[in-house]
Each structure stands twice: as C-alpha cells, then as structure tokens.
C-alpha cells in the first residue's frame, strides 16, 4: 500500500495516504483499497481507516489485531460462552453458607461437578482467564474506536460543500437531471429542508444540508462508557475498594461488624417476620391457602462503636451510635458501608422446656427451661428432687465408643441430653432425651422427663457492603446508554445539491436509508422533481431475478 499522500487531480487537495474519497471534493482518488472489506466507501466518509497503510512494526501488528471488528466480535462471543458455562452449576457464592466447595460439587453433581470444581469454573467470573478476556475486550474497544473515530472526526469537521460530479452518482440515493432547475424551486427546497431541521451551507450553486451529526459520536460515546465500566470492574480487585461480607447475628446477640477491625458492633434487638394474612388480603386467598407468603422481615438493630479497639479478642467497650430497622429494600448506611437484610435462619433452637412426670402420669413440680446455648447443669424441681444435666449435645450425631454424646456442629439444631433425676433417699435415675424420644438408661425408672415446648432461635443474615467501584459502573453505564440511544435513535443525514450545469442531488445517512428516502421524496414530490431510488435496493432486486 502506498505510504505517500494523495493529491486530488481535480481540486488539488492533498489527502492522507490511503484516503479513498478526496476530503475536499469527494472524488474517488484511490481505487487501491480492500473492496471486500470496504463495501460502502462512504462508511467513514472515504477516509483512510485501514491501518494497513502504516508500516508494520510489532506494535502496529498488535494494534491492527485489536482494531479488527471481526476479532472484537470473536472476543465478545468468547466472553458470552464463558459466561454461559458459569451457569451450568451454581457458582461458589451460591452454595449454602459454610459448605465446603470441594465436597459440595462432588456430592451434588457427581463427576461433572468434581471437574467443574477442579477447573476453577465455580469461581469463573473472577478467574484470571475471564479477567484477561475482558482486558482484551477493553483493548479492542479502545483500539477500534481510536482507529476509526479520529479520522472520522477529522473528515466530518472539514467537510466542503462543493462536491465533484462523480460523487453524486456514487451515493445510494441520488437524482440527476438533464438540466438545472429554477432558482425559486431551489429556494423552496432549501426552506422545506430547513423546516425539517437541516442546517444548510452554500457555496455558489452548491448546497449541503446536514442534521444529526452528533449521532455519529454515539458509538464512541457508548464505547467510552463501556471502558469506564471495565475499569470499574478492574478496580474491584484492588484491595479495600470492594467489601462483601455476611453478618450472622442471632436475636439478642451483639457481634463485631467484619472488616471494621472491631471498631463497629451490631446488636440484633429484635427480628420480625410477618406473613400475609389471608383475611386481610381477600384477593390473594387462593394463593395463600396453598402457601405461606412472607410479607416482611426485618431486623431492629443497634450500632455501637468500640472505644477499646486494642488487641484482637479483648472485651469491647461499646457506645451506642444508632438504632435502625433493616428491611429488605431498606439498608442501613454508615461510614461508607451499607447493611442489607438478606435472609434469616430459624433452624436453631434457643431453649427447650421439659417437665417431670411420675409413674402415675402426674406432673411433678414446675417445668424447667434449658437454655441451649449456655445451659445450667442443675435444675431444682421440688424440695426433694433435683435434675442434673449429665451430658448435652447441641447437634446430636451419635454416641461415641466411650459413651459420650458426639455433636455434629456446635449449633443447637438437634439437641440431646442425658438427664439424671436425683430424689432424696432414692437412687439416681438416668435417661437419654432427644427430640421425638426418650430412652431410659438406668433400670426401673419411676420418673419420666417429658418435653413441653421449644423456643426458636432466629438469626438474622445481613450483608455488609462497601463498594467504591460503583460510581464507575453507574456513570459508565449512563454514558453508555446515552451514546447508544443517540447513535441508534438519531440518524446523521446529509443531502448535497449541485445546480450548475445540471441539477444533481445526492443523500447519505449512516443508518435508516428507508427513512431518509421517505423524507427526501416527500420534499421532491412536492416540488415535482423526480424522486430518488435506493441504489442498493435496485441492485438487490436485480440479483433476485
């Protein structure tokens, strides 16, 4: 390809190397372009887009790879396929809290699950190769935009009104008459087009009408927005900019808020769950008969600041800072953080109440309440009778070889006890109590321990978020949408008229020739001038026949 600049033989303007249409008069000055790739020479107004005119250093070769739309499309397709793969099995942050990923995938999804885990696909969207793909996308967007945008900008802002005769026939919409038309007809056309919001420039008998030029910048604006978004997603990996933690706090408990280095604590004062009442909502009665639907759940919290932030593990000295009710859709905000109501856990028990029953089936004394988190070891039933708790397992799994109760977790989900009834003057009686069953350990037990009721321990699951990258996403996407809308909904339309030796008219738009044709023909028809036909349509119809 020529490295030399091209001088137009018609108007004398010197064009950059590789330009197809003269920047000044629009004459075709360079036939030596890739006709397969460039179907419409007016695509970038005939400017030299193809970087093939430049010398081929390594940087140029790399650059050219990324300016190619075909390669860009391939990168987009790869990202889409990768994203789809991440939906085959749930990602790691969707599996139950606390589960071991390696076990979970194997257990639930078998060999495929095992492979999924080993390949790291369970953390696909933050994996290094997905990251690289997106980096390549960013490079592609930047390179392609600079490569096309800069020449386009230059061309559109240096437009000349007067165009070479050959320019008109080259356009998709054109009308060439044998003779000139009357001046007042021309003025009429001018004023009609002006009413259609066209801006007009004249140069003797040459006219240029243009509107919607700014829509050409749409793609470049939306690309800038995308770069901002990609930049924001990159920042996510930088330490401190993005925090996403779970706060698990039972009713009545106070826990430290993670990542604040024990500066802030949160207390769950009360947790409320409300379900839709069938009576109040008659219209939903059919649905509510079959299922319980939660109307609202919220945590009433108090936030504290710790005045004693010394060593890890030391007792905090708490000073209340705020009270708030965190509901779904209504987070609590403080110090750049947000705390959201995520879900709740009512699978734990807080306490169980039992009572002692004698051989006749009569209750003895009052019922006694066992706190399942910090249980007492002795319960006074009457003056003579005391019940001792010999063993307790919060989440009973099995009895060990040495007779002790083995627990699955430290969480009261399935409590089991060994109680010993000590009556003055009698032998101690032992029994093994669990949910749905009591088994005597000693023989000939006179007494029975019976279950009365249990109280649920509700824990609120809150999400702690700090996202300093969000402005990048928000602003980036708004810019993207702005660019997308002006680029798609508005068209850049130009009409040239030359009325020196014969009337010539041509029109160009970057999209929607159908609409431009309609608009132009309305004006031409009213002036009794032959209407324009879409050159491409004519060619296509010929091909069909």
């Amino acid at each position: 390809m020529a490295l030399k600049e091209i001088k137009c033989s018609s108007c004398g303007h010197v064009n950059p190397a590789g330009t197809q249409l003269c920047q000044s008069c629009g004459k075709l000055i360079n036939e030596d372009y890739d006709k397969k790739k460039i179907k419409d020479v007016m695509r970038y107004d005939g400017s030299a887009v193809r970087s093939k005119v430049r010398s081929q250093t390594l940087y140029d070769k790399i650059w050219n790879f990324f300016t190619s739309i075909r390669n860009g499309v391939i990168i987009i397709a790869l990202i889409s396929i990768a994203a789809a793969i991440g939906t085959i099995f749930p990602q790691e942050y969707f599996i139950p809290v606390g589960a071991d990923p390696e076990q979970h995938y194997q257990e639930h999804y078998g060999t495929l699950g095992y492979l999924y885990y080993q390949l790291g696909l369970h953390n696909l969207y933050s994996s290094w190769w997905f990251l690289i793909l997106n980096g390549l996308l960013a490079l592609s967007i930047i390179a392609a935009s600079i490569d096309r945008g800069v020449p386009l900008f230059k061309t559109l802002y240096k437009q000349h009104v007067k165009k070479h005769d050959s320019f008109f026939k080259r356009q998709r919409l054109y009308s060439i008459q044998e003779t000139t038309i009357e001046d007042d007809k021309v003025s009429s056309i001018v004023s009609k087009l002006k009413k259609m919001r066209y801006k007009v420039r004249t140069d003797g008998e040459n006219y240029m009408f243009e509107k919607g030029r700014f829509s050409r910048w749409g793609p470049y604006i939306n690309h800038s927005g995308l770069i901002l978004i990609l930049f924001g997603s990159m920042l996510r990996f930088f330490p401190g900019l993005y925090i996403d933690e779970i706060i698990y706090v039972s009713e009545g408990e106070t826990v430290a808020i993670p990542t604040t280095e024990n500066e802030f604590y949160i207390e769950n004062n009360r947790f409320i769950v409300e379900n839709y009442d069938q009576e109040e909502h008659d219209v939903f009665s059919d649905a509510l008969m079959n299922a319980v639907v939660t109307q609202n759940f919220q945590t009433d919290v108090s936030i504290y600041r710790n005045l004693n932030q010394n060593v890890v593990g030391s007792r905090p000295d708490l000073e209340k800072v705020d009270d708030y009710s965190i509901q779904v859709n209504h987070p609590y905000r403080f110090d750049g953080y947000e705390i959201f109501q995520s879900s709740f856990d009512s699978s734990q028990l807080r306490s169980m109440t039992f009572f002692l029953e004698d051989a006749d089936g009569e209750q003895v004394g009052d019922p006694f309440v066992v706190d399942l988190r910090t249980p007492d070891e002795t319960y006074n039933i009457t003056d003579d009778i005391v019940i001792d708790m010999r063993a307790y397992s919060p989440d009973f799994l099995e009895i060990a070889d040495n007779g002790t109760l083995v627990s699955q977790t430290p969480v009261p989900r399935n409590p089991a006890f060994v109680f010993e009834v000590n009556e003055q003057g009698e032998d101690p009686e032992r029994s093994f109590i669990r949910i749905m069953g009591s088994t005597p350990i000693t023989d000939n037990n006179e007494y029975n321990i019976r279950f009365l009721e249990a109280e649920d321990q509700v824990a609120s699951v809150l999400t702690l978020k700090k996202d300093l990258t969000m402005p990048f996403f928000a602003v980036g996407f708004v810019i993207f949408l702005f660019g997308l809308f002006i680029g798609s909904y508005i068209n850049h339309r130009r009409i040239w008229i030359k009325n020196d030796t014969a009337f010539k008219l041509a029109a160009h738009t970057n999209k929607n020739y159908f609409g431009l044709k309609k608009e132009l023909n309305k004006v031409l028809e009213s002036e009794d001038i032959e209407q324009v036909e879409d050159k491409f349509v004519i060619e296509q119809t010929k091909k069909d026949k």
Binding site: G135, F237, G313
Partner: protein
C-alpha cells in the same frame, strides 16, 4: 494524525492496558491466599481462659515459642489429637507454650468434653466465643495448628489432624 503521534498513542495504549491487566491479575491471584501464612508475622490477641484468667500471646512470646491449636468439641480430629498434644507438651517440659483456642462453645460443652478424657489437660484453653481470633487468623478447616517462634513469625501451619510426629515437629518449629 501525524505519524509520530499515532505511534505514541498506540504504544502508550497497548502498554498501559497490558500493565493494568497485569496489576489486576496480581491482585486477583494474591487475594486468594490466606491472611496468616508461614513466614508472616503472628497476630496478637487476648482471650479469657477456661480457668477464668486472661491469656495474651505477646506476653508469652517474651519467654518462649507458642503453638496455637484451633479446635471444637464437635470436631472429631480435634478430640482425637488433644491427648497426644497434652502428652508431648509435658514431655518437652513445657518449653513451648500451647494455647488451645476453642471456637465458639460454652463452658458446659468444653468441660463436658474435658471430663470425658482420661487425663487432665495441662495447657491453656482460651475461649474465642465471638470468633474474633478465629476470623483474624482466617481459620477455615479445623483443627488448625500454628507454630509461632519467639520473634513472632509463623514457622509452621497445618490444617489437618496432628499425628505424634506432627506435634513434635511443631514443638521444634516453635523453638526456632
């Protein structure tokens, strides 16, 4: 665009983007590692013990190396390794201090477990009820055992059950 400017723009863009991708990759891959690994400094803490006292690691480190053992009564390997830990702790004349950090449980549960053991445990049992220390050390699986030498550096870390040989290795490591 002039030839020179074009070259500058291209090279700058390529280099800049590559650098940014590289930095991001670095952060991505390095954040996968734990907070406290072998070679890192230990994190000091202060917890109440089962006896009612208070234990602070930095105080202990003035005189000797320290082994931290994170455990729970529901964790089978923890239960199994504890008697061995106690044996060897005594056998080595308590030259290295052992702190068994219990995660989250009530005194009742701990005492219940201890009374089922054949011998009394002589080392300190620290109570991490709020899991502050567990979180600070980013403990995942249990038992996790960490050896800290007198300089406050983490010499050894193991996230599985300790055999007698393992315990010896830990004691020796804490004395480095």
């Amino acid at each position: 665009m002039k030839k020179g400017t074009r070259k500058v723009v291209r090279i700058t863009t390529l280099v800049l983007i590559t650098a940014l991708i590289g930095v991001t990759l670095y952060f991505n891959l390095s954040s996968d590692t734990q907070i406290v690994e072998v070679g890192d400094d230990y994190i000091d803490f202060e917890l109440e013990t089962l006896d009612g006292d208070v234990v602070k690691v930095s105080d202990l480190l003035e005189n000797q190396g320290v082994i931290l053992n994170f455990w729970g009564t529901w964790c089978k390997p923890c239960r199994e390794e504890m008697p061995d830990l106690n044996d060897l702790y005594n056998e080595f004349d308590r030259e290295v201090e052992v702190i068994a950090v219990n995660v989250r449980e009530s005194n009742q549960q701990i005492n219940q477990f201890l009374s089922s053991l054949p011998e009394e445990m002589d080392f300190t049992i620290a109570l991490d009820r709020e899991r502050d220390v567990t979180r600070a050390y980013n403990i995942g699986p249990m038992p996790t055992t960490i050896a800290i030498n007198q300089d406050g550096v983490v010499i050894k870390k193991q996230e599985t059950q300790l055999s007698r040989e393992d315990i010896v290795a830990f004691i020796e490591a804490a004395q480095e």
